[in-house]
C-alpha cells in the first residue's frame, strides 16, 4: 500500500505565524486511515489552528497539507469546498445554527449539498440522530440543549454527509463526567462502525489516551513526542511526564518568567 493510501492526512514541514509569534515551526505528521489520532498539548499551542489549516480555513506560511491525495492549499475555492464535504469538523462550541431546531441543523448540509427528496432527508436525519441518541430531541432549539447534547447534535451534523474523516476540537472540555463518558464512547464507536478516521485535539489526557491509537504531543510550535498511549506513558522525557500527570512544576515552570523575586519586591520600596 502506498503512503498516500495509508495516510489520509500528511502534513509536511508546516510553518505558520500569527503576527510576530510563530505558532508552527516545521511540523510534520501523518494521520493514518481508520485510526483515532490525538493531537495534544498545553492551551495556546495552536491545536485548533492546526485543524483550521487542515480544513483550509487558514493558509500556512510554508509547508504542505495533503488530504486524501490533494494538496489542500493549492486548490481553487470550488475544489476546496468539494474537499470539505469529505471532512467533518466538530467545533468546541458545537457551532449549531441558533435559528434552526436540532432536526434542521442536522438536515442543513444534506439540504445544501444534495437534491434528495424531503422524506429521504427525514430518514437520514433520524438515523444520524439515533446514532448519537438524540432522536427524541429533534424539535428542540440549540439554546434548549445542554453543552453535551449540543456537541452530540453537532456530531450528528458532522456525519450527515458521511465524511471520510472527522476532526474534533476539544470535545471533552467543560463536560460533566457522564456526558464526557458518552462522548468518549461515541467517538470510539462511530470511528469503528462508520469506518471513519478521527483526529482529536485535546488536553484531557485520561479520556483521550483511553481511545486514541496514536498521540502527537505539540508544544512551542514543534512535535515534542509521539507514540501510542502506552509508549508515551513510559517516556523518560520530563516534559512528557509533566504533561501526562499534570505536575505543577517541571520543565514548564509554574512561574511566568519575571525579574528576580526579592529585587522586584524591594524595587517598589522608595
Amino acid at each position: 500500500m502506498s503512503n498516500n493510501e495509508q495516510n489520509i492526512v500528511s502534513i509536511r514541514n508546516l510553518c505558520f505565524s500569527r503576527g510576530a509569534r510563530k505558532i508552527f515551526d516545521g511540523v510534520s505528521l501523518e494521520i493514518p486511515r481508520g485510526k483515532i489520532t490525538a493531537i495534544m498539548g498545553p492551551s495556546g499551542t495552536g491545536k485548533t489552528t492546526l485543524l483550521k489549516l487542515i480544513g483550509g480555513q487558514l493558509r500556512p506560511a510554508s509547508g504542505q497539507v495533503i488530504f486524501d491525495g490533494s494538496d489542500v492549499h493549492s486548490l481553487s475555492t470550488r475544489e476546496l469546498f468539494n474537499l470539505r464535504k469529505k471532512m467533518g469538523m466538530l467545533f468546541q462550541s458545537g457551532a449549531l445554527l441558533t435559528d434552526m431546531n436540532v432536526f434542521d441543523n442536522v438536515a442543513f448540509p444534506l439540504r445544501e449539498h444534495t437534491r434528495l427528496p424531503e422524506p429521504l432527508i427525514r430518514s437520514l436525519v433520524l438515523i444520524k440522530l439515533q446514532a448519537v441518541g438524540l432522536r427524541g430531541a429533534r424539535m428542540l432549539m440549540p439554546n434548549e440543549l445542554s453543552g453535551g447534547m449540543a456537541r452530540r447534535v453537532a456530531l450528528a451534523r458532522a456525519i450527515a454527509l458521511d465524511p471520510l474523516m472527522i476532526m474534533y476540537d476539544e470535545p471533552f472540555t467543560g463536560q460533566d463526567p457522564i456526558s464526557m463518558g458518552v462522548l468518549v464512547h461515541l467517538i470510539k464507536s462511530l470511528n469503528q462502525i462508520l469506518g471513519l478516521t478521527s483526529i482529536i485535539v485535546s488536553h484531557d489526557v485520561r479520556e483521550t489516551a483511553e481511545i486514541a491509537d496514536y498521540i502527537y504531543l505539540l508544544a512551542d510550535g514543534k512535535i515534542i513526542a509521539q507514540g501510542a498511549p502506552r509508549e508515551l506513558e513510559q517516556s523518560d522525557s520530563a516534559w512528557v511526564q509533566q504533561f501526562l500527570h499534570g505536575y505543577a512544576d517541571g520543565p514548564v515552570h509554574f512561574h511566568y518568567s519575571a525579574d528576580e523575586y526579592f529585587a522586584d519586591l524591594l524595587s517598589g520600596v522608595n
Binding site: 480555513q57 470539505r84 464535504k85 467533518g88 462550541s93 457551532a95 445554527l97 448540509p109
Partner: protein
Amino acid sequence: MLNFFTELGSATREAFGKIGRGTFFLLHALSGFGYVGLRPRLLLKQMYSVGVLSFLIISISGLFVGMVLGLQGFYILSDFGAEESLGVMVAASLVRELGPVVSALLFAGRAGSALTAEIGLMKATEQLSGMEMMAVDPVKRIITPRFLAGLICMPLLAALFSAIGVMGGHMIGVGMLGVDDGSFWSQMQSSIDFRHDIINGMIKSLVFGFSATLIALFEGYDCLPTSEGVSRATTRTVVNSAFAVLGLDFILTALMFGD
C-alpha cells in the same frame, strides 16, 4: 513627534485596509445573488426582521416629525400670511430630506445594530466557521440575503415615514391650527413634482439603505469575535452609518437639487 507619524501611518494603513476588505466583502456579497435567488425564503425572512419589525419605530417617528413640521411651519409661514403653503412645506421637507435621512438614521439604530450584533455573535460562536467547514459559503448564505433585504426595505420605510409625516402635519396644521384643508392638499399637489422630488427622495433612501446595510454587515463580519469586539463593532455601525448617511445626503442634495 516620530510617534505621531508612526500612529498616523498605522491608522492610515488600517483605514485603507478596511476599505479594501470592505470592497471585496461587497463583491463577495453581490456574487451571492444567484444563491439567494434559488432560496427566496432566506430573503423573505430577513425582510421581515429588517423591514416589518422596523414599522413601528418608523411610523411613530414619522408621525412626530410631521407634527413638529406642522407646528414650526405654521408659526413661520403665518408671519408672511402664507400658512396656506403649509402642505407644500411639510411634504417637500419630508420627501426630499427628512424622510430618507431620519428613517435611515433610525434604520441604522434599529436594524443595523441588530445585524452587526447578530453576525458578530455568529462569528464568535463559530457558526460562520462551521458553515465554511460544511462547504457552505457563509457570505452567500448569511450576508447576501440581509444585504438585499436592507436594499429593498429602506426606500419602502422612507416612503412610509414621509406618508405618515404628511398626515401628522395635516393633523396639526388643518386639524388644530385651522389651515384650509383644500389649499393644504391642492398646493401640495401642484408643487411637489413626482420625478424631481419623490424619485430623488427614493434614490437617496436607496443609497442610504445600501451604505447603512453594508456598514452594519461588514462591521459584524469583520469584528473581533469576543464580547468586547462585538460591542465595539455595534457602536461603530451606528456612528459610521450616521456619518455616511449625513455626508452622502449633502452630496446627493447638491447633485439633485443644485440647478
